[in-house]
């Protein structure tokens, strides 16, 4: 149990996917102008990252590894993710139109969100040690928890950032700083704050 707790803390705060690992920056900068869109995007990302990691984990474990085809990881994973995103879109439209309205417009953007592919690849290629002992590859349970926690970290960073950005839009910044530059400088300060967490989980 404590291992799961450590994975969650580490994925959300210590190795925050945006502020420490630099994944999913484009949508992070692109749709964080308003708190409401940021929340919608975060929800969609959480959903897709978790689902995609589980599916790609299984694909890797039961399809690529047995046939010695690990070199096809990149191409297989991106196809699985693209197909999955389409599928989710279709299913959501049928089952829950209200949820589709909230998340729908963000779904097509997610295929090219490198956070999704990044987490999927990290989970199957990197060995982890959280509660001491031998470094090992994640099992399915750990992979799922890691993916979900990572996406929560994404949501946290995104929502905090968009909150700041809404205020930023009303303040008077020099002309050359307007828009992205000042946003990047803001992220820099946030990243500095998150650095405080480093070394907390070993």
């Amino acid at each position: 149990m404590s291992e799961f707790f450590l994975i969650i803390i580490s994925a959300i705060f210590v190795n925050n996917i945006v502020l420490a690992q630099f994944l999913g920056i484009c949508p992070f900068l692109g749709v964080s102008n308003k708190l409401s869109t940021a929340t919608g995007m975060s929800g969609a990302v959480c959903f897709v990252i978790t689902l995609a990691t589980v599916v790609t984990y299984l694909v890797n474990r039961y399809l690529l590894v047995p046939f010695n085809l690990e070199f096809l990881q990149t191409i297989a994973f991106i196809l699985v993710i693209a197909a999955l995103v389409q599928l989710v879109e279709i299913v959501l439209k049928k089952i829950s139109p209200s949820l589709y309205q909230a998340l729908g417009i963000f779904l097509p953007l997610i295929t090219t969100n490198c956070a999704v592919l990044g987490v999927a690849i990290t989970v199957v290629t990197k060995q982890f040690t959280f509660s001491g002992g031998e470094p090992h590859f994640f099992n399915l349970g750990e992979a799922t928890v890691y993916a979900f926690a990572t996406s929560l970290g994404y949501a946290l960073a995104m929502i905090l950032f968009s909150g700041i950005r809404e205020h930023l839009a009303q303040s008077n910044v020099p002309k050359s700083f307007k828009g992205l530059p000042i946003a990047l400088i803001t992220v820099s300060i946030m990243a500095m704050a998150f650095l405080g967490f480093s070394g907390m989980v070993k």
């Binding site: 002992g133 031998e134 480093s198």
Partner: protein
Amino acid sequence: MAASSSLKNMVLCLTGVCLVCSAILGGVYVLTQEPIERAEKANLQAALSQVVPDGYEISVEPVYREMDGTRYECYRAQGASESEFATAVKSSVNGFGGQLTVLVGVTGEGKVYAAKVLSHSETPGLGAKCSDAASHFVQQFCGFDPAQKSLKVTKDGGDIDAITASTITSRAYALAVENAVKLMKEDSYE
């Protein structure tokens, strides 16, 4: 200009593209397989030769040893005479930022010949200095005799000078070396 999006066309096109791409990939994979293996082997050989005495015959086939439930990957190296041998042990511990893997060369008398970081995720500019082979921190392990001195950082009452502002990394590194030495000590009793 583009072909119409009928189901037949779409299926044909996707299948065709996938087939061609997998054929290309398969071909490149077969072509690069040998160079990749060679590069990995050369890499390992280079790392091993840094942690065992010069002129030793290194076996790149790993042998596995267990201690406290952890399995260690070891490589044997043989010197000119029967009694001259060393073992390179791959020792992983938790550093500051994550896993820290150190390759430790232990001689037949149980001394450390040299140690080298294989992979780490320590803070750049601070803990990451543990991978700088020329630094005092790494150099002090060369020829270290655990029977005479203690493999603990000075802060913990030992003889290892820690990297400035990176006690945790230094502790972890020393622990990795200590584990390797212990493993070889147990091994020689067998």
